[in-house]
Assembly symmetry: C2
Amino acid sequence: MLLAGQITLLREGAEGLSRQIYGQIRGLIEEGRLGVGVRLPTSRALAQDLNVGRNTVMGAYEQLVMEGFLVADGRRGTMVSEASRGFEGQTARVEDAVKAVRQVAQPRLSRQARHMIEVRRREHPAFHSFQPGLPELRSFPHDLWARHLRRAARHMQLHPDMGGYGHYSGVPDLQQAIIEHVRLARGVVAEPEQVLVLSSAQAALDLVCRLLLDAGDPAMMEEPGYSGALAAFRGAQADLRPLRLDDEAPFANLPQGFDPKLIYVTPSHQFPIGRLMGLEERLSLLRYAEAASSYILEDDYDSEFHFKGTPIASLQGLDRQERVIYMGTFSKSLMPALHVAYLIMPPKLVVPGAGLHRNMGSAPSVVLQYAIASFMQEGQFRTHIRQMCLLYQKRRAHLLAALARHCAGDLVPTSQDGGIQLLGYLSDALLSKGWDDQSLSHHLRNHGLENSPLSSFYWSGEMERRQGLFLGYAASSLEAIDQQVALMADLMAWR
Amino acid sequence: MLLAGQITLLREGAEGLSRQIYGQIRGLIEEGRLGVGVRLPTSRALAQDLNVGRNTVMGAYEQLVMEGFLVADGRRGTMVSEASRGFEGQTARVEDAVKAVRQVAQPRLSRQARHMIEVRRREHPAFHSFQPGLPELRSFPHDLWARHLRRAARHMQLHPDMGGYGHYSGVPDLQQAIIEHVRLARGVVAEPEQVLVLSSAQAALDLVCRLLLDAGDPAMMEEPGYSGALAAFRGAQADLRPLRLDDEAPFANLPQGFDPKLIYVTPSHQFPIGRLMGLEERLSLLRYAEAASSYILEDDYDSEFHFKGTPIASLQGLDRQERVIYMGTFSKSLMPALHVAYLIMPPKLVVPGAGLHRNMGSAPSVVLQYAIASFMQEGQFRTHIRQMCLLYQKRRAHLLAALARHCAGDLVPTSQDGGIQLLGYLSDALLSKGWDDQSLSHHLRNHGLENSPLSSFYWSGEMERRQGLFLGYAASSLEAIDQQVALMADLMAWR
């Protein structure tokens, strides 16, 4: 066998010649075309045959010896090793096995993974009409942002130590900027050390659930409620009960002796109903948490966008027992793809929370944290929020007017204020035509109108599912809103 | 009571006047100094007293009414609400309770959290002498990197859709660049769709453990082995057994019927021993995994830095059964604070892996993913690695020479090659002086010499702990290495 005849070298390729020789000889061994004990030509001979330098061939041989495919035996030269036999056999035997496995077996996933994945499967769509939760992106101050990124990169050049390990909880500048923001805007009472910076609200939900809950532990969340929170509770395999905030006395109706370790709420703008939790109810929730020794996770996901007056202050600011964990995100106030959110932990949970955060590894890049910090410190964050607030207010009013014009008999918008999405209930007229929110939502999505059906936010099976559509308006221009509502009206009239 | 006399306004403050009035009235109610039923001055009167516009006061009143602290009662004016009583009571009662709780109670953490946190508590130090795992940071091409960041920001300006949701697995450009890199450099066989981009190797370890393991499920990892992996297995509450790679036949000595669902290995450069897993052992591991229906997690953490020839190709590239999950990181090849790592999933785990990834929420920022992708596409990543390889090789040789000169009788360096850290075993002479690696490590750290003791990487309690020191040299200049080794020699001679 002339080995050189079985090797084809690309002189212009990205791969070095030595690497190519290595790869092709290895391939011949793997395929069984170079069997155990076969002696290879000397490196000098093969180099001549291939018209390459001798070092090139020697490099390939050395590599193959190091990996165990070849053995170098002094005077007897270089041979295909005994060890490579395992490989030949494997290849042959395994090919059939793989085929069989592929056809039959499903991977054995953990229960917790299956439960978590089940909650949210669908990828977000590429188009943006009425996509709930999506902020305006075309008006994002990209130039300014690019400047802050560059500045952050320069900062790291001047402080190379910041490129190493450490600061797992967050970069101090960003912790400080976040605290200043939530103190002023949300009445949160906390110190920068209490802040954990994470890669998303989802990571924050996951962290809090894992910090406090073992499998079977009692927990509560709102129903209807945010599916991301549901995924986190399911992942922790909690014994989860619904908190029905539309009840007159939500805390009186709970089963005796059910002391939830964690209670998830969105008091400033209930997701998805949009309801504001009043002072009395907040105090009753805090008292309940005290009696049951519960922690409360306050998800303040879109509180930046309230249109009338200042938004109601956070539950965290009312808490005197250090039972409230506050959670915020930059996904709505800056952009979702930024992937930065934060937790503000009560003092006693700071150290364990930071320890778990480090071991879960979802801290965002330090350069990014610096860029957000300087964006906030220079006041550009507040300016951006103020501008978006005005824009969203206009878009919301425009959407309401368009719905009144085109879909008045079909969708009944809630009176909730603020936020970046609108909930409309399906009217009796629409329901009597045979629509439910799932089929309607699907029908609209098929025609390019993104939305979420309200009924998908019910999870316990114990509550009657109200029928509604959840429409994001923040990313749609006034023109687009008109077009989309007109299209929606047409599509709803289809039945 | 003259309300105005109890309100002090800062005219130059960052907080608006209305907000200040709101906050101070709320404070008076919370402290019980404005009791239930107390009537407030009209907004006009208070505005005059405070010398502010009437709208300013009205804004504050409206906010307090909205939050439930005040009630507006038409002609009778504005009063402190009944609801605020709950608050007064709470404040008084709770203050004592909080004190009591702070002194006694520890927060009720989940078992999984406690197990995870326990594994790794210590923050990384601020100084860098011999810190294991730390790459050179001063030579990082910050200017180039800043340019790629700016370009990535511009790209997002041109494609505002990329700022939204989606691409949970990773930005396609980066998935592609990663595959090209690992194909060429590591012999990995995979398509871009198989890549999951995460915020850290730790997040990747956590994801894989949670994907495959429920509490009590059998699993295996190397001993001694990486503490980050241990934390992930502990978090999953796996029944974890040691894989002793120093055994003659590691897979023959395992208990019958113990079929691990997941096996964690570092075949290219065992952490912390530095051993290279030979071909025969790799094939035997693959056969074992097939028989036991195990998945293998191959952590290829520092394979970029091999000094002699090409590094041995990845285990993933040998796998014909789609049982190997490959894991890589940019922490060593670029910098730790970048917080980007990746998994390459076998085909059957791609969809469930991406689903779990979305629900764990540890995807890095999209702008960062673009920047890394263009850094790689332009070949600057390979150039940087090549330069660092030369630098680290020099530093390693220098460290070995310095150790031979100063500490020859005390530390016995392993013959492992490559990587960015060196393991030295404690000599019998040193042990007979009464040192063990924990006390020596502590002693050196107290004098500013960072390091890790080898014995801390044993975790099962079943193996004899070998004594050694783990020294990072990649971030130290040749001068610094000399100084640090001289200091180390002095400190070891102290006993």
